[in-house]
Amino acid sequence: MQVDISIINTYLLMVTLVAMIANFVLSLYGVFFKPHYIKKIIALSMLSDTANTITLYIGYRRWVDGVPPTIPVITNRSIEGIYDVVRRSVDPLPPALVLTAVVIGLATTLFLVYLGYILYTHYKTLDMREIKRLKG
């Protein structure tokens, strides 16, 4: 008996996207409305991770007739191998964009950590409500 389950697959993929958007909203709330500086940095790193995940999700491709997609690496170097990879592979452009974003995200996080230490030596606190001079 053949049952059409593609609607369930579509629903499950949509659940992933909606959960990612919920992550985005939650970490945005953390960046804006949490008073502590370290909490803000943690929320910011989670925000960038979620944006990267949405980018990668756009580049995915579904299974066709039960055949899974493959990674964009050519293992069989003949003509047939290359065309097989083109037929089955996922999109290689979003990983290339996300790759550098992750490393640069770590560099900017390090910069914010240094800035937090300098703030602490000046004000003896990291609570943004007590640092009156930064209030904008």
Binding site: I38, A43, W63
Partner: protein, 89 residues
């Protein structure tokens, strides 16, 4: 039939992992103890690693894994140990 079920199972793993990561993000935002917040964010990173793997992007997994699992908790713990641990009400 069996291969269709395999496809559904892969998508089901992805959906479960996403929902668990949403819970982890929520707890990170709500937590008052910053060390526990760092641990919850490490849990979120581990779950995101599974999602990246299932999206078939090994390059991103290879760069995200040392950064998010190996480096970022260490850096945050250095900053917490030098400043303060508790977030005030």
């Amino acid at each position: 039939m069996w291969r269709m079920i395999a496809e559904t199972i892969i998508y089901l793993i992805m959906a479960c992992t996403s929902i668990a990561s949403t819970i982890a993000v929520y707890l990170t935002i709500k937590e008052k103890d910053l060390v526990k917040a760092v641990i919850y964010s490490a849990l979120q990173s581990a779950l995101y690693t599974i999602i990246y793997f299932l999206l078939l992007t090994p390059d991103v997994v290879l760069v995200y894994l040392p950064v998010a699992v190996g480096l970022i908790p260490g850096v945050f713990l250095i900053l917490i140990s030098k400043t303060e641990r508790w977030e005030k009400e």
